[in-house]
């Protein structure tokens, strides 16, 4: 037999299932509608958490559609633990797998952008490297250095103009997005994450650096694929947004 809390939980998420037996009102009559208070609390609070976390998806779908979809999602993917700030990690993939929305192929990546912003907001604090210090490093040392990013940095690659879509929905007067691929850098200077479009190849370079590739090697690889790659402007962006934490020269060359 299933435990009492198992039955309670199943009935919470399915209004078509009868209220578990043994639940009463104050006069020992079946609890009836009183059980719906818990049904409402659970589903509404989880839906509100999703709506709070994915405001652009809610705008794109409309409040009514978002609410219906969220109702399905929270039943299939309740939070794994009580940290609601982490809730919704499977939502981007869920949007992509939801057949009636298959024509809105960009939704998943826009949701990933919103998720990454939230992760950046709660990421561990770290002091970025001082651009003045960075500029004193000789090019030879830099070429054989590993570049470490602060924890609040995220990159996203998309076939869709996800940053333009985000601004079109959240920033007054932002232009209508034009069809194009867009890679995005998310950084956080003090407390508020900022988002920046990355030049072509920028996300590849950052990912290579994160994997521990030396800066010189990573740049060489990128320039082979994108001969016009503008490293100085990307470096300017990374320094200006406080994205780089430390630079570690690697001395593995024998004399």
């Amino acid at each position: 037999m299933r435990s009492a809390q198992s039955q309670f939980r199943t009935a919470l998420f399915d209004p078509d299932i009868a209220v578990p037996r043994g639940l009463l009102d104050g006069l020992d009559r079946p609890a009836g509608k009183r059980f719906d208070v818990y049904r409402n609390n659970v589903v509404m609070s989880l839906k509100e958490a999703l709506s709070h976390s994915f405001p652009v998806i809610e705008k794109l779908l409309g409040i009514h559609n978002f609410s219906s979809l969220a109702g399905l999602y929270v039943r299939e993917h309740p939070p794994a633990d009580p940290r609601m700030m982490l809730y919704g990690a499977e939502f981007p993939a869920y949007l992509e797998g939801f057949k009636p929305l298959a024509h809105l192929s960009y939704l998943g990546d826009v949701a990933r952008l919103e998720l990454a912003q939230r992760r950046s907001y709660h990421a561990r604090d770290a002091t970025p490297i001082d651009p003045a210090v960075f500029s004193t490093l000789p090019p030879k040392v830099l070429a054989r250095a590993q570049v470490h990013f602060v924890p609040a940095v995220h990159t996203l690659r998309s076939l869709w103009p996800i940053l333009d879509i985000w601004h079109f929905n959240m920033t007054d007067g932002a232009p209508k997005p034009a069809a194009r691929a867009q890679d995005v850098l998310i950084a956080r200077q003090e407390f508020d994450p900022s988002m920046h479009a990355l030049p072509v190849g920028g996300a590849d370079l950052i990912e290579a650096l994160r994997a521990g590739t030396l800066l010189g090697d990573a740049l060489e690889n990128i320039e082979q694929i994108h001969p016009d790659f503008d490293f100085p402007s990307l470096l300017g962006l990374l320094l200006q947004t406080g994205a780089i934490g430390t630079v570690t020269p690697i001395n593995d060359q024998k004399d």
């Binding site: 043994g22 818990y38 609601m84 604090d125």
Partner: protein, 285 residues
């Protein structure tokens, strides 16, 4: 049983506090009166850094802070989530709060967190289990915890104890303190047709380390009977203030928290509720 002598005694002042909302950060630093302490929901401060933790660090330098957990599922059938308990320990070790409290409720089951405080029957078996969970919490945190009475919308046929009896037995067995939510008492008493003052008379008031007050909504059940919902989305209702006075007359002054979690008002509105709490405390013998 938890040895209270090795615990930091709760040192929340017998004064009004409020549930902290980030939109009130500047108001609280500029003109907190009559609010003298703050309560946070533990789970909102389990990120790695950023503004939430920075604000909390700042506030904890100025005010006594109460850490109020809403996700430990102390009334759950299964074992406590040891990872979540470890996160609570990390937070409490970092913050050294004046108080830590949780609920007589369950909220997680089979690896799903349901984000609500769900009810349990009051039997010898559930008493045993909840007492074990409280022992574990107090051992891991190395401090006394307060356990809060729930708001009830229904009762269990299998219950063999009154809630006050159940809470009293838990306090006696585990050495935990109690958090008395007077609005929850009013909500439960209305919903289950019990006498709220008799509940207070039965409550082990000597164990109460903190009192909660919040607003509720009104609905109706299938039979047209009033069904109050503990929504924390408005002013505390007048009969709840009356029940508070009744309680304070018996308990003496206690740390008094105003909870307002949804449709959060501007600071002056919240401070006015706290001021009403300050008056109630001032009239306490």
């Amino acid at each position: 049983m938890f040895d209270a002598t090795r615990a930091r005694r709760p040192d929340l002042p017998n004064a009004p506090g409020v549930g902290y909302k980030p939109q009130h950060f500047a108001n609280i630093l500029e003109a907190p009166a009559p609010v003298e302490w703050l309560e946070i929901h533990a789970e909102n401060y389990m990120g790695q850094g950023g503004r939430p933790l920075a604000q909390l660090r700042h506030l904890s330098e100025r005010f006594p802070v109460s850490v109020h957990g809403v996700g430990l599922s102390i009334g759950g059938e299964g074992a406590l989530d040891s990872e979540h308990l470890a996160r609570l320990k990390t937070l409490c070790d970092w913050l050294s709060p004046a108080s830590f409290s949780e609920h007589l409720a369950w909220s997680s089951h089979e690896n799903a967190f349901l984000n609500d405080l769900l009810p349990l029957p009051y039997t010898n078996a559930t008493l045993e289990r909840v007492a074990d969970h409280i022992d574990q919490v107090q051992d891991v945190l190395g401090r006394q915890m307060l356990l809060e009475n729930p708001s009830s919308y229904l009762a269990f046929r299998e219950s063999t104890m009154r809630e006050t009896e159940f809470l009293g037995a838990l306090a006696q067995r585990t050495g935990c303190g109690l958090l008395l939510d007077v609005n929850n008492v009013f909500v439960s008493a209305t919903n289950l047709q019990l006498d709220a003052r008799a509940y207070i008379d039965d409550f082990p008031l000597e164990c109460v380390g903190e009192i909660h007050l919040g607003g509720h909504d009104e609905d109706m059940d299938d039979h047209g009977a009033p069904l109050l919902i503990d929504s924390h989305g408005r002013e505390v209702a007048d009969p709840v203030w009356a029940l508070l006075e009744y309680t304070l007359a018996r308990s003496g002054p206690r740390p008094l928290l105003i909870e307002w979690d949804t449709d959060v008002p501007d600071w002056p509105t919240l401070a006015a509720e706290a001021q009403r709490g300050a008056r109630a405390l001032a009239h306490t013998p």
